[in-house]
């Protein structure tokens, strides 16, 4: 088991390294704009642009820039001119070209908004999706089952940003038909933690809706599979009540793939897949930041956010893998 964990962790680190390489390739080698020019500002003279290009080390060969970046992120050493071009690491993601603020600072500042958004959404989608999935599985083929399945499919089929707009149209307190929930930009206004939560209510519901539907369907099919197993029949024959059969035996087994899915989803969302929800509701999270950064060709910021996101994905994948290996020994010997 330990060997398995060590192997997976090492691969995780290697993954992060490879991800950086890919990002570097995309953004440094095919840049969408001249970052030195953008940093220098609109009326910069050529001298200033050259100076900035030097400072940022942009004229060095790509391999050297990449090596320097890796050194700054992962190690505390001064290799490849790290100290001269942005300082040594570790966890030094450089400074934003636009505002000269350290990238790590920007990410830490925006992370709480994304984290709160994801946390709340998770709570909602579990609360909404799991019971629906269980009930549908138990009452399968009933009208209730059919309707919920089609409704959930409809929720999955709607683009999440559109759902957000519709929700705002109906329920936003500033511009909606019925004034219930805070509207766009209310997160920026909110001071206290509870005010922030309240401003995220609609985003939570919207983000949770589609995911709840997915989980409901998944749990349903998983539970149906499990319920046709032999040991369920045995439990029933032993006289266990139907409720207990379903919850203690059925759901317990069926929930495993859900847990793994949850881990992966949270990782993905924290990594920035909440972009769409953040854009519609104007939430200053990590996802929105990267859209802006890409537009401005703010390479360190882009690199930093993606790497951070990859870290979440890899970590959660790792947790899920290890948990799975713990539960199913066959997996370890692949």
């Amino acid at each position: 088991m330990l060997r398995y964990i060590v192997r997976r962790v090492l691969w995780g680190v290697a993954l992060l390294f490879l991800v950086s390489a890919v990002i570097f390739l995309i953004f440094y080698v095919f840049p969408s704009a001249d970052p030195a020019k953008l940093r220098a500002g609109r009326q910069a003279n050529p001298q200033l642009i050259e100076q900035i290009r030097d400072q940022l080390g942009l004229s060095d060969p790509y391999l050297e820039q990449f090596a320097r970046y890796m050194t700054q992120v992962f190690t505390p050493f001064d290799w490849f001119g790290a100290a001269a071009h942005g300082g040594t690491g570790p966890l030094n993601f450089g400074r934003s070209f636009q505002s000269n603020t350290p990238v790590s600072e920007i990410i830490y500042e925006r992370l709480p908004a994304t984290a709160l958004l994801v946390a709340g959404a998770v709570v909602f989608w579990l609360l909404m999706g799991l019971p629906v999935g269980i009930i549908s599985a138990v009452k399968r083929r009933s009208a209730l089952d059919r309707t919920t399945m089609v409704t959930s499919l409809a929720l999955i089929s709607a683009p999440v940003f559109w759902l957000g707009l519709v929700a705002l149209y109906l329920f936003a307190s500033d511009v909606g038909l019925i004034h219930v929930f805070p509207g766009i930009g209310s997160y920026l206004d909110a001071d206290s933690f509870w005010a922030k939560c309240w401003s995220l209510f609609l985003p939570w519901l919207v983000l949770a809706a589609a995911t709840a539907a997915i989980y409901a369907r998944y749990l349903r099919s998983s539970l149906i599979d499990v319920m046709s197993e032999d040991y369920i029949r045995t439990a029933r024959a032993k006289g266990v009540s139907e409720g207990n059969v379903i919850m203690r035996h059925g759901v317990r087994s069926a929930i495993t793939p859900i847990v793994t899915l949850l881990g992966l989803d949270v990782g993905l969302l924290l990594a920035g897949n909440a972009i769409l929800t953040e854009s519609v509701f104007n939430i200053p999270g990590v996802g929105r930041e990267i859209v802006v950064a890409i537009n401005r060709s703010d390479l360190p910021l882009i690199q930093g956010i993606v790497l951070f996101g990859a870290f979440f994905i890899v970590t959660f994948n790792l947790i899920v893998d290890i948990a799975y290996a713990y539960l199913d020994p066959r997996v370890r010997y692949r």
Binding site: Q43, Q47, T101
Partner: protein, 609 residues
Amino acid sequence: MRLTMFRLLLPAVLLVALVGVLSSCGGGDDEGGGEESAGIPSDFKAPTAAPDNAKEGGTLTILNEGDIDYMDPGAAYYQVTYMVTLATQRSLMGWPPDATQPVPDLAADQPQVTDGGKTITFTIRDGIKYSPPVDRDVTSADVKYAIERSLLPGVPNGYTAAYLGDLEGFKEAEQQVAKDKTTAPDISGIETPDDKTLVLHLTRSSSIPVIQALSLPVSAPVPEEYAKEFDAETPSTYGEHVTFTGPYMVKNDSSGELTGYTPGKEIEIVRNPNWDGDATGDFRPAYVDEINIQEGFSDPTSAAQKILDGDSQINGDFPPSKTIVQKVATGQEFSKDQLVAVPSGGNRYIALNTQKPPFDDINVRKAVIASSDREALRNTRGGELFGPVATHFIPPLIPGFEEAGGLQGPDLDFLANPNGDPKVAEKYMKAAGFKSGECEGSDCDITMVGDDAPPGLDTATQFKGQLEDLGFDVTFQPVAHDIMYTKFCSVPAQEPQVCPNVGWVKDFNDPQSILQVPFSGDSINPSNNSNWPQLDDPKINKAIDQAVTITDEQQRAETWGKIDQDITALAPAVPWVWDNDVLVRSADVAGVANLFNGEWDLSYTSVGG
């Protein structure tokens, strides 16, 4: 129908306005009466004077989409940044909200111009102190340093060379700086015989634009002993340690570092304890105690709604969306006076690259202008409140506007109809050799690089359709605003045939600042070009160069007006609006707008009313 009725009304309004403007010539005492000549209905005229019962105290919040460009006054070059600099810095000359000519601010009086316009003498006021921690009195040497440091590559100033380049010793100073990038050079033409006197020697009689240029933040004093260490770095870090002379300052700590400025997020502005407006003859009343600029509001509808619904808020760098404007202006939800419009002092046009076929042929350009529905282009930004359809380049309220033809414009057939005239277009296409009246051949495959976000995107899309009607095959590439400039439109080697989202805002109230940089062949620059049509007509270049040195105001207006007409006749671009800045405020804000930068004036606006 409503449209034609308004059109009939317009000349009547114009007449009234003309009478109003003519009868109150001299500026300074209008209640913003000049605004009528910009076509703004009186309901939405921005107040340019504080009400008599303006309340002191309170906090004003400004909602912004983006950030200011530079905190360093030596580099600031953006109307929204001027909101901050007008309230926190005292330049030699300044702009009260209703002024049409600059007024002495740091200077004690109007400067003395001698030697046929080649020598300008300023006297600095007594008792003006820098904000803590610098705490000392301002001297003339500080203004000299402020101007000289703007030549450093680390202080990216966009206009010193253009407008102050006539100072004696300027060229030598530029060479000095090329050798030593870390020390501000000495411009021999700026003399400081004593602590309170500043004498400027020019190589030619361009005193008028020079004095106007000294109303820009570059002349805000900078203490050399404090700023030197920051200016030694490239880029200069003075922007993180600015010191202030106005009634307000950005919050800082005891070492002078600006703690109140978080780029991209917010700016906290508080009162400057060392400012004494009465003792130093400052025209600014400075009512509010604190000003907070909050950035990141990217949805103009919800942000404007927030301001209108809420308390003590005003908008900064974004106009409210068209739907909000409609709601307020028709009195549906909010009080009509919460919305005002003020001329931005700028124009917007679609640049046609005169150095590339097919637009190197003047007939093709005239045809394109003739076929474009400029009113529809204006409508992509909003309706009439967003500005009159432009017919030439000098905007309303700037001297030379009337001389160039006013709202009607010069007598040119291809600009006569704001909705376009297909017959005239056809005539010019035929004159260009296209017998069918539409473009034919490979030259008709053109590229256009524009904004990827509304309203610029809408304008570009609208224009694309209009070009296609004339037979062009347009490839439209939308990119981020900054990239549009830094990578394509402002780089002559990379510039496509059409740059639809360009325009120019006056630098100061003189027509030179609207026409020189955008249209003189001498200002074409290989890496940061603002003459987007790349117009290089020797006659125009010469006329511009000579007009710079005219010292008689009336003659200047006439000469520059004629230059505007000549430029327009060369059809380098499609002028489509002289835009207005549309401003909104919360109900409890007594907002005052400044005609210089077209934004709310933070030193005159009060809350709690």
